[in-house]
């Protein structure tokens, strides 16, 4: 068919989105792992690696803008490119959440963890898993999967609420734990937000495939959950 070059370039941008997504996925998992092991060096590496995430996001934006300017995309192509701008932004913010968790580990300094981490790694695992499948759905424009994933946000919210209650109990029993509890709560908050942004990616996938702009559960109410 026509427009071979354009097709190739579209595919390249999608590949770049996927690559960015895999960096972010890894950063989320690594940041919690480093916190769990109190590995400061690993956390510093994660903070450093966030620069690459930011740079790749800008590169994708740039690539998309050049395509819009030179190819005048319409219909599906236009929805795809506009959505990629959005998705790259969401991924970059998720990277910031991972960086935030890395920073918490460094700020904690010599203080021990308030408790061994169990639910935080579970949240991180769930986030990474949802993100991975959301990006696969994006690549395949799989509307059914994109609709299903945001429903799993409830699990992440449930883990968050569990962590929240547990940490509050610590604080009530011993107010001197407040700072250490707060650090972990902040990490949990970051992980909860990641899942909300995965929902936003799923919304974009549905928009790309159908032209329908729908708000899926789990996205809008993110801030109130916190």
């Amino acid at each position: 068919m026509l427009r071979k070059t354009f097709e190739t370039e579209l595919q390249q941008v999608k590949d770049n989105v996927l690559f960015l997504g895999s960096l972010v996925e890894q950063a989320i998992l690594d940041s919690v792992e480093a916190l769990k092991k109190r590995d400061m060096d690993a956390s510093r590496r994660i903070m450093e690696a966030d620069r690459e995430i930011n740079a790749r996001r800008f590169a994708i934006e740039n690539q998309v803008m050049v395509l819009i300017a030179t190819q005048q995309p319409m219909a599906h192509d236009l929805r795809l490119l506009a959505s990629i701008l959005e998705i790259a932004g969401e991924l970059e913010r998720m990277g910031d959440y991972a960086k935030g968790i890395a920073k918490i580990n460094i700020l904690m300094g010599e203080q021990p963890l308030l408790k061994p981490l169990i639910d935080l790694p579970r949240m991180a695992q769930k986030d990474a898993d949802m993100l991975h499948r959301a990006l696969t759905a994006f690549l395949d424009e799989d509307v059914e999967t994109a609709r299903a994933i945001p429903q799993e946000d409830d699990e992440v919210d449930a883990l968050y609420n569990q962590i929240y209650r547990e940490l509050i109990t610590f604080i009530l029993q011993d107010p001197t734990t407040i700072e250490r509890a707060n650090w972990l709560l902040w990490a949990a908050h970051n992980l909860e937000r990641v899942a909300d942004r995965v929902t936003n990616i799923c919304e974009r996938t549905i928009f790309i495939a159908t032209g329908e702009m729908a708000e899926l559960d789990g996205a809008a109410n993110g801030e109130e959950n916190a």
């Binding site: 219909a75 599906h76 192509d77």
Partner: protein
């Protein structure tokens, strides 16, 4: 589709044949008043033929036969009692290639009005029409100069002024900017936005970006089916919808450049 808009032209089951060749098949749609409606589609699908149906220009093609109805504010312009010359006074046409008469700028604008027996102040009409066509400032000191000395873009705006001078309600434009450079094209597009305050505009364009930029509604034309040479309107809707989320696969393929 347009709750907010009055309907200027309503096409019902329109067919056009050139001899035994069917050029247009079974078109029905409504053109909203004081809006810009764009007709797009691959070349040869019948866009110009369709446009000519709106003011009975096909009457001038000996082999052409039009069946169906075109209602202009409810009146069928193909009714045997209707005078086609009268139709063209209300529904004017601007062509692809600027076609000024080899006369002065002033005479070009005054010409149609004079034929129609215009009794008012001719100087005023000429000025008003040239202003409406965004040409007055450029030619006001040269009204006696030959129209042929103007640039292509100016000539096209002169033709628009000439169309406006007979005070029509609808202006049909068949690829009005395709012979113009980008700046002159932009001027025509800007002008259309001004004109739509007073006129209903239907424009044929092969330039999709132009349709997307200037029009409020877009009609997508294509050959009606595989193997047929008859064109028809396959999708009609608000321009933003057509260009972001077309419903018909063929529209999608055409506007994304995957057609052919």
């Amino acid at each position: 589709m347009f709750d907010k808009h009055e309907i200027a032209l309503s096409v019902k089951n329109l067919n056009v044949d050139y001899g035994d060749f069917r050029a247009l098949e079974n078109i029905s749609l409504e053109i909203p008043a004081r809006q810009i409606t764009a007709i797009i589609g691959p070349s040869g699908c019948g866009k110009s033929t369709f446009l000519r149906c709106f003011n009975r220009m096909n009457d001038l093609v000996p082999t052409a036969r039009v069946t169906g109805e075109v209602l202009f504010y409810g009146q069928n312009i193909y009714d045997s009692k209707v005078n086609p010359v009268e139709v063209r006074r209300h529904i004017g046409m601007v062509f692809q290639k600027p076609n000024p008469f080899p006369k002065s700028i002033y005479e070009n604008v005054a010409y149609g009005a004079r034929i129609n027996g215009y009794k008012g102040n001719m100087d005023e009409l000429v000025e008003r029409s040239l202003r409406a066509a965004a040409l007055w400032d450029e030619v006001k000191d040269d009204l006696k100069k030959s129209a042929l000395a103007l640039s292509g873009g100016q000539q096209q705006r002169l033709c628009i002024a000439r169309a406006i001078a007979v005070e029509p309600q609808v202006i049909l434009m068949d690829e009005p900017a395709s012979a113009l450079d980008p700046i002159a094209t932009l001027k025509i597009e800007e002008l259309m936005q001004e004109l739509k305050k007073d006129y209903t505009i239907v424009i044929v364009t092969h330039n999709m970006q132009q349709a997307a930029r200037v029009s409020d509604y877009t009609a997508m034309m294509m050959l009606s089916k595989e193997g047929s040479r008859a064109g028809t309107v396959i999708e009609f809707g608000p321009t933003p919808q057509i260009f972001t989320s077309p419903r018909d696969r063929r529209t999608e393929d055409y506007i994304t450049g995957r057609f052919g």
